[in-house]
């Protein structure tokens, strides 16, 4: 479904992604594991096209700060230069890190905004399936998103991505800052989405423990470079991974 080949992303002279390659097959949950500033967000932004948008905006102002090399093949088509809104139309939807919601809109309005590309009835249907997945959100639907807890905001952020209608769902650190209990709820929901909603998922994480049991494959990233890859089970057995990403 998705093949990344030798992706390089520079911010000025700093190399944020260095010759990174990965593959995602239909129906998989793929993890990208790396510590802070390893390049996870840069990868997610490259996949969703945000990096292209950032580059376009820099260029307009006359700067050339961001450079992207390499290929991103989505169902065989190279999408490196495709802008974010067109990638969304192809079914690639990103939920950004730190549970991005519109803080001054209610939960329901957030979900409605996410339905921008859809017909009214489709949006209504999508919103009720989000409430089915995260029943807690339904009780909070009139609450301003800015007043939700971190966990609730994360559920809302995933819910918004779902309303958009992803075939490939990108989740950037969906477990960041959540309590273990909420982390488990979010991970369970992700597995359900794959199993019942036939959505392919790429998620990034700093800590491997909560996600390794559910991912089909993991890519360990350090300083923008791929250092190790394997199935969730293989990675779990690897002593280096144990010491580096099971701490805390």
């Amino acid at each position: 479904m998705l093949v990344v080949k030798n992706l390089m992303v520079f911010f000025e002279n700093a190399l944020a992604l260095n010759d990174f390659s990965m593959e995602v097959r239909e129906g998989e949950i793929v993890g990208v594991i790396g510590s802070n500033s390893a390049g996870k967000t840069t990868l997610m932004n490259s996949l969703s096209g945000l990096i292209i948008d950032m580059r376009v905006k820099e260029l307009r102002k006359g700067g050339e700060r961001i450079t992207v090399y390499g290929e991103i093949l989505y169902n065989g088509e190279d999408i490196v230069e495709v802008k974010p809104s067109d990638r969304v139309k192809k079914g690639i939807v990103l939920s950004r890190e730190r549970h991005p919601v519109f803080p001054e809109s209610s939960v329901l309005e957030n979900l409605k905004i996410a339905g921008y590309l859809k017909k009214r009835e489709e949006v209504r249907g999508a919103i009720s399936s989000v409430f089915e997945l995260f029943p807690a959100l339904e009780d909070l639907k009139n609450r301003k998103a800015g007043f939700l807890s971190g966990g609730e905001q994360q559920m809302l952020a995933i819910g918004m991505a779902l309303v958009v209608g992803p075939r490939l769902l990108l989740l950037d650190e969906p477990l960041l800052g959540l309590s273990p209990l909420v982390q488990k709820a979010v991970v369970d929901a992700i597995v359900r989405l794959r199993d019942e909603g036939s959505i392919t998922v790429v998620l990034s994480e700093q800590f491997a423990r909560p996600v390794l049991p559910v991912i089909d494959r993991g890519y360990i990233i350090e300083n923008g470079m791929l250092t190790l890859t394997g199935s969730g089970a293989e990675l779990m057995e690897n002593p280096e991974i144990k010491s580096a990403y099971f701490g805390v």
Partner: protein, 290 residues
């Protein structure tokens, strides 16, 4: 005298609100400070005037075309100029003010000055309200103001485009991830602001005449209202329009029209010393903003 002053103060307030609401909407959605706002207001009036007097089109057709043309000019301004400087406030201000200056001074250079440059009132009649005569045009202004505020509220809360406006106003990058093409929405926000300036001109100009100087006045009034209200806040625009609108009319009636400008400026200073970000500053609710 008191009731009559109140009636005219309300009308004056709604006029200020109509002048400011487009500027405010553009700023609230895309953060673009469009200093060509007053020039667009005057441009639409001249276009209307030309269609009416040079081509002999009926007034309402001329008005409709001039609103559409002004809306298009707003979109072109974004696509060709603002898109490059977006986010750099000073460059935005200089670029848009320059465009406005060019438009206004072109009309002055071409000699479009004088009392014959005006637009007709919609319906020529008047009523006796609260002890004073009020003409139909002023009543229509108040009605239009109310309808517009309600319509904008409906639009931003109940249409997918309006909701996208609310999204991009809060977080542009998150809006992008939802498939909202933020450049397109920003284009629309500038053109919608321009269209609102044209709509305001269509209904307000019949009370006076069209002149390049009026373009600068409208810009200054819009800025004053938006700064008092807290840039970007619709609730703020309404409240601020009424503060300035009432201050002006009551000064006129009870002190002297020489003091009108000073009292308005004093109102601005007082609000800003008490609340530097305006009555409904950015930190406040989006609910108030668009």
């Amino acid at each position: 005298m008191f009731l009559g002053t109140v009636v005219y103060a309300v009308i004056n307030s709604v006029i200020l609100m109509l002048m400011a609401i487009g500027f405010n909407l553009t700023f609230g959605i895309s953060g673009v400070a469009n200093f060509a706002h007053g020039a667009l207001y005057i441009l639409s009036a001249y276009v209307s005037w030309m269609l009416l007097n040079m081509l002999g089109l009926p007034f309402f057709i001329s008005a409709l075309f001039s609103i559409l043309i002004t809306t298009l000019v707003g979109a072109l301004m974004y696509r060709f100029v603002l898109i490059r400087v977006r986010g750099q406030v000073l460059s935005e201000v200089i670029a848009t003010f320059g465009i406005g200056l060019a438009i206004l001074e072109l009309f002055r250079y071409l000699g479009f000055v004088g009392f014959e440059y005006t637009l007709p009132v919609f319906i020529d009649t008047s009523f006796f309200v609260a002890g004073v005569y009020v003409d139909m045009q002023r009543i229509l202004i108040v009605v239009l103001g109310a309808v517009l505020v309600f319509g904008l509220w409906l639009f931003t809360h109940h249409t997918s485009l309006g909701l996208a406006f609310r999204g991009i106003a809060q977080d542009e990058r998150t809006a992008l991830t939802l498939g909202i093409d933020t450049d397109w929405i920003a284009t629309l926000s500038v053109s919608l602001g321009a269209g609102l300036a044209a709509l305001a001109a269509t209904i307000i100009i019949p009370l006076g005449s069209i002149s390049p100087g009026e373009g600068y006045d409208v810009l200054i009034k819009a800025l004053a209202v938006c700064i008092i209200g807290g840039l970007g806040s619709t609730g703020g625009v309404i409240v601020a329009s009424f503060i300035i609108g009432f201050a002006e009319r009551f000064t006129d009636s009870y002190i002297s029209s020489h003091w009108t400008m000073i009292v308005s400026l004093a109102a601005i200073l007082i609000v800003l010393t008490m609340k530097p970000s305006g009555l409904f500053g950015k930190q406040k609710e989006l609910e108030e903003r668009i």
